[in-house]
Symmetry: C2
Subunit: 411 residues, 2 copies
């Protein structure tokens, strides 16, 4: 019998009524002949409520104890779901992280799964039990409760699907799947039927927040087919899977953007070895992640170096860089928080020439100036003035034909 | 170093502020040179909130899953308390039922503790850690979460104190200790300095709801000195301990009452063997507990049989008894829910003659008719008309000199 792992997020579990409607969906999957494992997040709002309490209790809440408090949220949802399923006449059992067990390292709050014992789950599945597992939580070698970090329930689901060699891992959320771009700024946006792991990774890290990057990486590593779909409709959603021939037919699968970054330019730096290292060391020490970095060829022994950091880190990063600028004899440091990063993503770029230049032309036609460019195998990103974000997304979406019927469905 | 187990109930943990003030008290105990184990209930209202959710989810919530949901309440309070203590500069660690472990049988919702592993607790205490343990919860041999039933945190505390051979187990609540009677109906009521386990058992079962009967039984069995005190004041509270000579000096330690019962009389039953068995069998089958039972000598081959049941069971019991009455040829069945049971309790009764008759005289003087009487070694109970409850309590309290300075303090 095919094995399915279904993960339901907080918005799918926002009330007892929602839990009951999710239970019907779970039951239907079993009726249709699947063995079913369910992974649940905390009911919506619950994790925030618990985290707020830890912050009221302590200025710097102890990580071990934060995990003890916060993991109670999933504990409540699996208990409730299991009793609902039982009342509906299904055999169901809840398992917490320590009961599976889902073994992790001891990095409280950001733990990594090291091992999942499948024996208990398999035994229950063999008895036609619907196994309801608490997402987000695990246990370390000393028996301490750990959590996997925000959105960790996706990772739990994928890891369990991988461990059980499930046929598919369904991630239920409040959107119908992965879209070519954000439908709220481009009404032509269309749901994708299929997308590759790599494309999804580029989309996810750019703010298409339907799936945790880590969960996608995990699925890719263990080749677990993921289906992103809505718990509010019967739409089949988007399948995230290994790249296939169909995908190569399409040059670009989606347009994504983020306004969450700021740009810092270090102007006229003497072009000597070790300059970049000196500049970025203080940022690394403060835990600030640098995203795009662009350094041009040097003129008269000087170069300009520009990079982006998240808006949350922007002020701090600017101060640190200004402190270092004197040391490396840079002429000046400029900061600009008013930028957006627009990206086009597509596995087909590998086989389609001219994708990047078409992007530049489309933007030029609208007189949108490109401030920075960076490319990867399946993505081209441009930094532009923030105010052009929506316009850029719409014209790129149109130019790459993303509003049309999907090619992969035409086979 | 003396070892102290402190249990704090929900009202002592009603808010983050209350948790912080309890943490100060805990810290003070360690500063004073104690090794300290803390046992916590859920924050006040939390257990009810969780139970409500299970009832919204299911008409007959599965017991195993109810325990999963409900035990999350204590999980939150131990995590918060531990982070507060840590922030105050103390070494502290939370332990859930499964982490101690506190092993129980598998009777979900009403589990009994079968074993407490002390190794982990002792190791932590030896490092000067304040060990913060979740009350009310345990784990069975299969790794399922169990709970001990309402008020089970008292039992957890006493069981841990017994297992660790603690010098004292302090039960913190919102009252200052055990009183000679309910201060809200008798302003002369006085806090007792000391009371024996047996007296406490009689008081507790009669509605002096400061301590769970089961916790007192446990303390008696393992001879754990209990101190009932308030978390809102520095009053030393009431010590519950083995009976000592001082206690025998006092005939009566307290007057208790309950209005929670109803009376059922079966009139003119043929006095044959097996009548009582026939009468009570249906009640037992429905799980209805019978409290006082009085059967008088028979007249002309007939007898009257009267008993009390809780008000919650009263209607059902009356119906069942009426069904059986025909079968055993009783003349009629009378029900009266408007009664109160008044009791005087005192270890000293064993050595003081005439306590019961003094009680009857005091009630007679106020023209309060006694409907039923039952006695134990250290208690005399009378059923009277409910409307005389407060009057009876006050006159008995006065007559037995309970408002005066306590004799045990005069040594």
């Amino acid at each position: 019998m095919p094995l399915i792992v279904q993960k339901y997020g907080g918005t799918s579990l926002g009330s007892i009524e929602r839990i009951k409607s999710v239970a019907m969906r779970v039951a239907r999957s079993q009726n249709e002949g699947h063995r079913v494992v369910v992974v649940l997040s905390a009911m919506s709002g619950e994790t925030n409520r618990l985290i707020d309490m830890t912050h009221q209790a302590s200025e710097f809440p102890l990580e071990r104890e934060t995990d003890v408090v916060v993991s109670s949220g999933e504990q409540v949802s699996v208990g409730l779901m299991t009793m609902v399923l039982t009342e509906m006449g299904y055999r169901a059992l809840s398992l917490l992280g320590f009961q599976v067990p889902i073994v992790t390292d001891s990095r409280f709050g950001i733990a990594r799964i090291t091992k999942i014992e499948t024996e208990r789950i398999t035994r229950e599945l063999d008895r036609d039990t619907i196994v309801v597992i608490a997402g987000f939580q695990g246990i370390d070698a000393e028996g301490n409760i750990t959590t996997l970090g925000r959105g960790g329930s996706d990772t739990t689901a994928v890891a369990i699907a991988a461990a059980l060699k499930a046929d598919v891992c369904e991630i239920y959320t409040d959107v119908e799947g992965v879209f070519t771009t954000n439908p709220s700024i481009c009404e032509e946006a269309r749901k994708l039927t299929k997308i590759s792991y790599d494309e999804m990774l580029e989309m996810a890290s750019m703010g298409a927040r339907v799936l945790q990057t880590r969960a996608v990486e995990f699925s890719k590593k263990y080749n677990v087919p993921l289906r992103v779909r809505s718990s509010f409709t019967d739409d089949p959603g988007t399948l995230v899977c290994k790249e296939d021939k169909d995908m190569e037919k399409v040059a670009v699968s989606g347009v994504t953007y983020t306004k969450d970054e700021g740009k810092i330019s270090v102007v006229r730096v003497p072009d000597r070895p070790g300059i970049a290292a000196t500049l970025f060391r203080p940022l690394t020490e403060e835990g600030i992640n640098v995203d795009m970095i662009v350094q041009n060829i040097s003129h008269e022994g000087h170069t300009d170096l520009t990079f982006t950091v998240s808006k949350a880190d922007f002020k701090k990063a600017l101060r640190l860089v200004k402190d270092t600028a004197g040391e490396i004899e840079a002429q000046e440091v400029l900061g600009d928080p008013g930028i957006a990063k627009i990206s086009i993503v597509g596995a087909g770029m590998r086989s389609h020439a001219g994708v990047a230049s078409m992007m530049f032309e489309v933007l030029a036609k609208e007189s949108i100036n490109i401030q920075m460019i960076s490319t990867s195998e399946i993505k081209v990103s441009c930094v532009i003035d923030e105010k052009y974000t929506e316009l850029a997304v719409r014209v790129l979406h149109e130019a790459f034909g993303l509003g049309k019927e999907e090619v992969v469905e035409e086979k």
